[in-house]
Symmetry: C2
Subunit: 254 residues, 2 copies
C-alpha cells in the first residue's frame, strides 16, 4: 500500500459480506487506502462487547489495489482492537463503522455494534464515525447516503475530531433528505420486548422483539429529526460521567 495516502479502517456489525460495508468501502477508497476487519457473520446488538473467554481468528478474504478485507470471529470491538495491533501496518487516519443496516439513533447507540466500532476507534484516539441507515433490508438502497458520507468523511479528515468524541450518523430510509442536522441523542426506551415461546420440552423461551417508544418531541434530537427526514449527526463521548449528578452526590451522606 501507498504510505502517503491516508489509511482508513472500516468495520461493522453485519459482517464483511453485508451490502452496507461494501458500499462504504467504495466511497472510502476515494480518500485513501482501506483495510476492513469485520465480523465473519452478523454481530448485531453486540454493543461494546469483547471476547474474553475464547480466542478469536482473523483471516484475509479479499485483496485488491488500495484495499484489504479481513474476516474475524470476534465482536465489532474485537475487530478494531485486533486490527490496530495485528493487522494494520500503520496508524489509521480514521475508523469508520457501517453502513449499518438499521437505526442506531437514541438509546440504540448503547446496543449497537456499529457504535462499538467507533467507540473503540475513539478510545484509540483516532477520529471515528459510524454510519447507519434506518432500514434492516439486507438489499437496502444506500445510494442517497453516499454523497453525504463523502462530505462527512472529507470534513473529518480535514477538521479531525476532539480526542474522546466520535460521530454517530443516521440516515432516514429515504431517497431525498430534508437536510443534515447536528443532534443530541433522543430519550426513550424499548417496550414490549419479548415474544414468549415454548420449547417442545415445555421450557420457557423468549425472542427479542419490541418497539421503540420515543419520549422526546424536540426537533433537535436524533430520533425526531430522522422522522422529519433529516440525516442526523449525533456527537458522542466516551466519557459518560454525569457531571451535574457528581456535584449533587457530594451532598449525600456517602
Amino acid at each position: 500500500m501507498n504510505n502517503e495516502r491516508p489509511l482508513i479502517l472500516v468495520s461493522n456489525d453485519d459482517g464483511y459480506q453485508a451490502k452496507g460495508i461494501n458500499e462504504l468501502i467504495r466511497v472510502l477508497m476515494e480518500f485513501g487506502d482501506v483495510v476492513a476487519v469485520a465480523p465473519h457473520t452478523g454481530r448485531s446488538g453486540k454493543g461494546c462487547a469483547i471476547t474474553s473467554e475464547v480466542p478469536i481468528k482473523v483471516w484475509k478474504v479479499n485483496e485488491e489495489p488500495g484495499l484489504k478485507v479481513y474476516a474475524c470471529t470476534g465482536t465489532p470491538c474485537d475487530c478494531v482492537k485486533v486490527a490496530f495491533e495485528s493487522v494494520l501496518d500503520r496508524r489509521p487516519s480514521m475508523v469508520v463503522g457501517g453502513i449499518n443496516h438499521g437505526d442506531n439513533s437514541a438509546v440504540n447507540a448503547h446496543y449497537s455494534g456499529t457504535m462499538g466500532v467507533v467507540i473503540e476507534g475513539c478510545m484509540k484516539e483516532v477520529p471515528s464515525v459510524a454510519f447507519s441507515l434506518c432500514s434492516h433490508d439486507a438489499d437496502a438502497d444506500f445510494s442517497a447516503t453516499l454523497p453525504v458520507i463523502r462530505n462527512i468523511v472529507a470534513q473529518v479528515l480535514k477538521n479531525s475530531l476532539p480526542i474522546g468524541s466520535c460521530l454517530n450518523v443516521n440516515f432516514p430510509d429515504s431517497q431525498s433528505y430534508a437536510g443534515v442536522k447536528v443532534c443530541r441523542q433522543a430519550c426513550g426506551q424499548w417496550i414490549n420486548e419479548w415474544a414468549p415461546l415454548k420449547h417442545p420440552n415445555g421450557s420457557d423461551w423468549y425472542w427479542l422483539t419490541g418497539s421503540f417508544q420515543c419520549k422526546d418531541s424536540d426537533a433537535d434530537c436524533d430520533r425526531v429529526a430522522l422522522d422529519n427526514n433529516y440525516v442526523t449527526i449525533t456527537p458522542t463521548k466516551i466519557d459518560f460521567t454525569d457531571y451535574s449528578l457528581l456535584e449533587e452526590l457530594k451532598n449525600w451522606n456517602l
Copy 2:
C-alpha cells in the same frame, strides 16, 4: 412475596452462582424482596450486548422467603429486559448489578456487563447501581464492601436518582478504605491487547489480554482514586451526547 416491601432486581455478568452476586443478594434482602435474574454462566465483557438472533431461556433455580433466583441464557442486558417483562410481578424500586469480580472503572464501563445491567435498569427509569471489586479472584473477599453497599443502597432508596443516570461503584481490593469518593470516569485505554497463537492447522488466532494505560493523574478520577484506596462512585449518564462538540459541528460545512 410481600408487596409492601421494596422489590430489588439484581443481576451480574459473572453468572448466578458467582460469589459476588450471592454476597450482594444477602445485603439487599435486608432492604426488601429480591429477585435475581442472572446469566447461567459467565458473561464478562458483554457490555450492553443484547441477543437478537436466537431465543433466550429463563428458569428458576432457587426460591426462599423474600428471594427468587432465575438463570438466563442471555446477556446481562437481556436478563434485566426479560425480568421486567416476564419475571417480576411488580415494578422494582432498584436495579443492582454485581458485585462484579473485576474493575469497572474508567473506559472499562463500556465493556462491562455489570454496567450493562444498570444502564438497562436506568433506561427503564429505575434507580440503578453497579458494584464491582477490583479483584478477579472467584473466591475474593467481599466483606469490606458490604457496609459501604448497605449505605449506598439505603441512600439511593431514600434519595432516588435522576432519570437517565445511574451509579458505577468500584471498590479497591483492600480491607480498609481511605474513604468514599465521588469521581468522574478516568481517561485511558487498553494496550498490548492480544496474545497471538497458532492453531494446529496453522491459522492465526488471538487471545484477548492487555493492560490498562491510565492517561489521567487527577485524584478525582475513578481509576486514580481506586489506586489511592478510595471506594469510587462514578455517576453515569445514558445520554452520551457531546454537547460542546455539537455546538462546534454547527460551524462545519455539513
